[in-house]
């Protein structure tokens, strides 16, 4: 089991895609079983016994598991009963628990991951490439996954995997390669390095940490959510309750961290808070005002900042220049518009302020006329954070604020959040990165199937404990009885 680590944008995915025949290398060679190969397409790589599970799932939602698995490999066992039998066989052999005839869109992330692995095994791959397979899993699921992988290894398969979670890399990998800015900076054996050393190799500098020390929590409630319930109804799933009687309060200067496996209602909760979806019942109060009936625009004018989880879908206009992206979401506010009723755009104002954000937040860009799409993900995120902070929000909804952001930028973003918090900002933090969640939050809540099922004190909780609540195994107040300070 070979691990590859590196900062965001170091070229890990790119390297893997090259291995898998999706890009052609300009120079250099790839050898499989000692034999030099040149792949023109993934099909060539598959034929050579390579299989890849991508960072972003490569599944067609509206097709069944069976269809997704056999796609491209129909020659092996056809697309009917024989294929179904084979899938069951593999699934049983490695305890993957995959059901062939459900639609993929009905599966959770962990199940999807297993479908992806099954897809690769189905093709008889001898070498498995897993690009950040654990990013969206809770610790228990991660363990299960590594159990699966160890079994594969025992069968004589080679596994290459990429991860940002250095702890797990150190615990399961046999070899580690570190890459930075597209070149290998070193190869190490897990027994010889610590996580810290590894991280420093990755970034070429010292590691930041998300810890928040001194508490800035006040008594003044900023956001009060009371009994918010939301059901969705669509032709595919019928009616279901996605938010069930959600109640919580965030005070000024408080960061409330919301833990949960993706798809348990976080997105819907954010939507309800931002105002893009109307809850069926319950009230939302911002400060003293009832904002339940407010439109999104009014809420944002009223001081709700929003760092969306999917910046490409919700945070940016990819093909517009940076300064237009700076206006997005704050089109009714200074310095973006002027005149009576803020009717006219203030192009100069917006441009100048974009320059300011670019400088203050260290957005690496040659100018503000370039399109947002040409920035790297991390820089896009910095721009969004800068934009939201520029309007001095009273409440910040931050969903995965550092996802896909390298450690340097991560630290900056954390700093920004902390600073604003000191000035009385209330933050709802949603993150899949449990370290970030524990380190940054003042209070922790766990959401599971649309309900807040547990709460915890970040000072004492461990990621494992949190993880078990996230899978629904534990509820109520999570109390850590063991010795203080064991928490990371």
């Amino acid at each position: 089991m070979h691990a590859i680590v590196g900062e965001n944008g170091a070229g890990k995915s790119t390297l893997m895609k090259t291995l898998y025949g999706m890009h052609k290398p300009d120079e250099g060679t790839i050898a499989v079983d000692g034999e030099e190969v040149s792949f023109h397409s993934p099909a060539d790589a598959i034929a050579r016994g390579l299989g890849m599970v991508h960072q972003h799932f490569m599944l067609a939602d509206n097709l069944t598991v069976l269809e997704n698995v056999v796609l491209g490999a129909e020659k092996l066992y056809g697309i009917g009963g024989k294929a179904r039998a084979k899938i069951k066989e593999i699934s049983d052999a490695y305890a993957l628990g995959v059901r062939p005839d459900v639609l993929v869109e009905d599966l959770g992330v962990a199940d999807r991951q297993r479908v992806e692995i099954l897809k690769v095994l189905y093709r008889g791959a001898r070498t498995l490439i897993l690009d950040e397979p654990t990013a969206v899993l809770v610790p228990q699921e991660v363990d299960a996954l590594f159990d699966n992988l160890r079994e594969l290894k025992a069968e004589g398969l080679t596994v290459i995997f990429i991860s940002h979670k250095l702890g797990e890399v150190l615990s399961v990998a046999d070899d580690i390669t570190v890459i930075r800015r597209g070149t290998t900076v070193g190869s190490v054996v897990p027994s010889e390095v610590t996580a810290r050393q590894l991280a420093e190799m990755m970034v070429g500098s010292e590691l930041p940490s998300p810890e928040t020390r001194e508490s800035t929590v006040t008594d003044v409630p900023m956001l009060r959510v009371e009994g918010v319930t939301l059901t969705t109804e669509d032709a595919e799933h019928g009616a279901r309750t996605v938010l069930d009687d959600i109640t919580f309060t965030i005070r000024k200067g408080e960061v409330l961290g919301l833990a949960g496996v993706e798809g348990n209602g976080q997105t819907e909760l954010i939507d309800a808070l931002v105002g893009t979806r109307k809850p069926d019942s319950g009230t939302i109060l911002l400060g003293e005002e009832d904002i339940t009936g407010w439109t999104t625009r009014r809420r944002r004018e009223g001081g709700v900042g929003y760092i969306p989880e999917d910046r490409h879908r919700h945070g940016l206009l990819l093909e517009s220049p940076l300064w237009e992206n700076r206006i997005l979401g704050h089109v009714t506010e200074r310095p973006n518009t002027k005149g009576k009723g803020r009717f006219w755009l203030d192009l100069q104002g917006a441009r100048a302020d974009t320059e300011r954000i670019v400088t203050e937040y260290d957005v690496r860009t040659p100018g503000i006329e370039v399109t947002a799409a040409s920035l790297s993900g991390g820089n896009q995120q910095k721009l969004i954070v800068g934009r939201e902070m520029s309007h001095h929000p009273r409440l910040l909804i931050a969903a995965h604020p550092t996802r896909g952001v390298d450690v340097g930028a991560q630290a900056q973003i954390w700093d920004q959040i902390r600073e604003a918090r000191r000035e009385g900002l209330a933050v709802l933090l949603i993150s899949a990165d449990l370290d970030e969640l524990i380190g940054l939050s003042d209070t922790l809540r766990v959401i599971y199937r649309g309900r807040l099922v547990a709460d915890a004190d970040p000072a004492t909780i461990t990621p494992e404990e949190l993880g078990s609540a996230m899978t629904g195994a534990a509820t109520g107040h999570l109390e850590h009885l063991a010795e203080e300070g064991a928490a990371r």
Binding site: A235, G450, T475
Partner: protein
């Protein structure tokens, strides 16, 4: 290590997908309900033509070109390419079909017409797949181009041809054989003529599909199940559909997405072309400029109506053909009877909404129903101007009632670049 205070495991019920997709039995039930309702309406109004043999066979003939265009749309969209150029491809089909048809016989015409349409499909594929241009834009351009090209070509062919001497039409084409199932057809006609409740109506429908059926109609009808079989039961179809759902995933599994998209769009053009041939050779026996009359667009609508499924599409085309046929066959009285049909349908919808506690929708439905009833009882005939609009209004109404159930292929209309993942 750590202990947790385990409260009574508040395990909410697992997310259970309650699929409300229209399953086959439900669809059949709806169809059966519609037939019964039609029969009731016929008995009340005495508009016997609404379920007559002639009406049904007329509807079939009018539905086929729309259905073929719709199938064309289906193939393309299932592979992720929106094809609004169906109209243009149909035009190419009519032209090439007629051009070959009058010279070398109707079946050569069929072949050439398909090829002509496929040529349009190829162009669409080049523009959208290779160059990644917006699909609708490309389709619009193809529609313009097809008009120009066929007119231009007519100047060199039909204008000089014996028997037409006009650049706007071809000489006549020999007909394609008609078949009538001997005993059955007459029996059904007799039965239909009795005007019995339900029995005669069913006889009308059966009679309609066994009377004066062109061989090409048979072929077209078979293409519906054929399409379903290819797309949902073969690996070719699976690959093709995967390109419409998630091309990046398909590519990652070694599917040559470009190839499947190309093939799908070319086949799509071929279907539209066949629809064109049908117009030129079966519906009439001559190429006539402007003959397609927006049927390509309507085919697209039928496909959306049918939820991107062959069966649904056939129903959509059938609905359009039926209303069109109704209005052509002494529309004034027929469509007047249709009003009563609508009154019933809307009343049922209103009741259903009220039952589901959607009061606003229910009340609106009831109000419209009542309005139509008033209109129905105060008039003898619907003005011919509105009769002509009946198919369009019907389509709009049905879509308004059902559009939310529809689900397009996820990647339809999105540009795809190789290695984009």
């Amino acid at each position: 290590m750590a202990t947790m205070t385990q409260t009574a495991a508040g395990k909410p019920q697992p997310r259970k997908p309650v699929r409300q997709k229209l399953s086959l039995p439900v669809v059949l039930l709806i169809v059966a309900g519609a037939v019964v309702l039609a029969s009731v309406v016929r008995m009340i109004t005495g508009a016997d033509d609404i379920t007559s043999v002639g009406q049904v066979s007329g509807a079939l003939e009018l539905a086929i070109p729309i259905g073929l265009a719709g199938l064309g749309g289906l193939w393309a969209e299932r592979a992720g390419v929106v094809n609004i150029g169906l109209e243009g491809m149909m035009i190419l089909g009519t032209w090439f079909g007629a051009w070959a048809g009058y010279q070398w016989g109707p079946w050569t015409g069929v072949l050439l017409g398909i090829l002509g349409g496929a040529l349009g499909g190829l162009l669409h594929a080049v523009i959208t797949v290779t160059f990644g241009v917006n699909h609708i834009v490309s389709g619009v351009a193809i529609n313009i181009l097809a008009v120009g090209v066929t007119r231009y070509l007519s100047n060199f062919t039909f204008l000089e041809a014996e028997g037409s001497k006009s650049a706007r039409q071809s000489p006549t084409i020999d007909p394609i054989t008609d078949i009538t199932v001997p005993g059955l057809s007459d029996a059904m006609k007799t039965l239909n003529g009795k005007h019995w409740f339900l029995v005669s109506d069913l006889a009308g429908f059966v009679g309609g599909v066994v009377t004066e059926l062109s061989l090409l109609t048979v072929v077209a009808l078979l293409l519906v199940p054929f399409t379903w079989w290819v797309l949902w039961r073969t690996s070719f179809g699976l690959r093709l559909r995967s390109c419409g759902e998630n091309p990046v995933a398909a590519e990652s599994l070694g599917v040559n997405v470009y190839r499947y998209k190309y093939l799908a769009v070319i086949i799509s053009g071929g279907f539209a072309g066949l629809g064109g041939v049908f117009l030129a050779e079966v519906a009439s026996n001559i190429y006539q400029e402007g003959q397609t009359g927006n049927r390509g667009y309507i085919g697209l609508a039928a496909m959306i109506f049918g939820n991107w499924m062959p069966g649904g599409l056939a129903m959509g085309a059938g609905l359009f053909g039926y209303t069109d046929s109704l209005n052509l066959r002494s529309g004034g009285t027929n469509v007047h009877a249709l009003l009563l049909f609508l009154v019933f349908v809307l009343a049922l919808v209103a009741l259903w909404q009220l039952y589901r506690k959607k009061y606003l929708a229910g009340v609106i439905g009831a109000a419209f129903s009542a309005l139509l009833l008033v209109w129905y009882s105060l008039t003898e005939e619907v003005p011919s101007q509105f009769v002509t609009a009946a198919p369009y209004i019907a389509t709009l109404l049905v879509l308004a009632l059902s559009a939310q159930r529809l689900r397009a292929p996820k990647a339809a209309g999105q540009p795809y670049y190789k290695g984009g993942g």
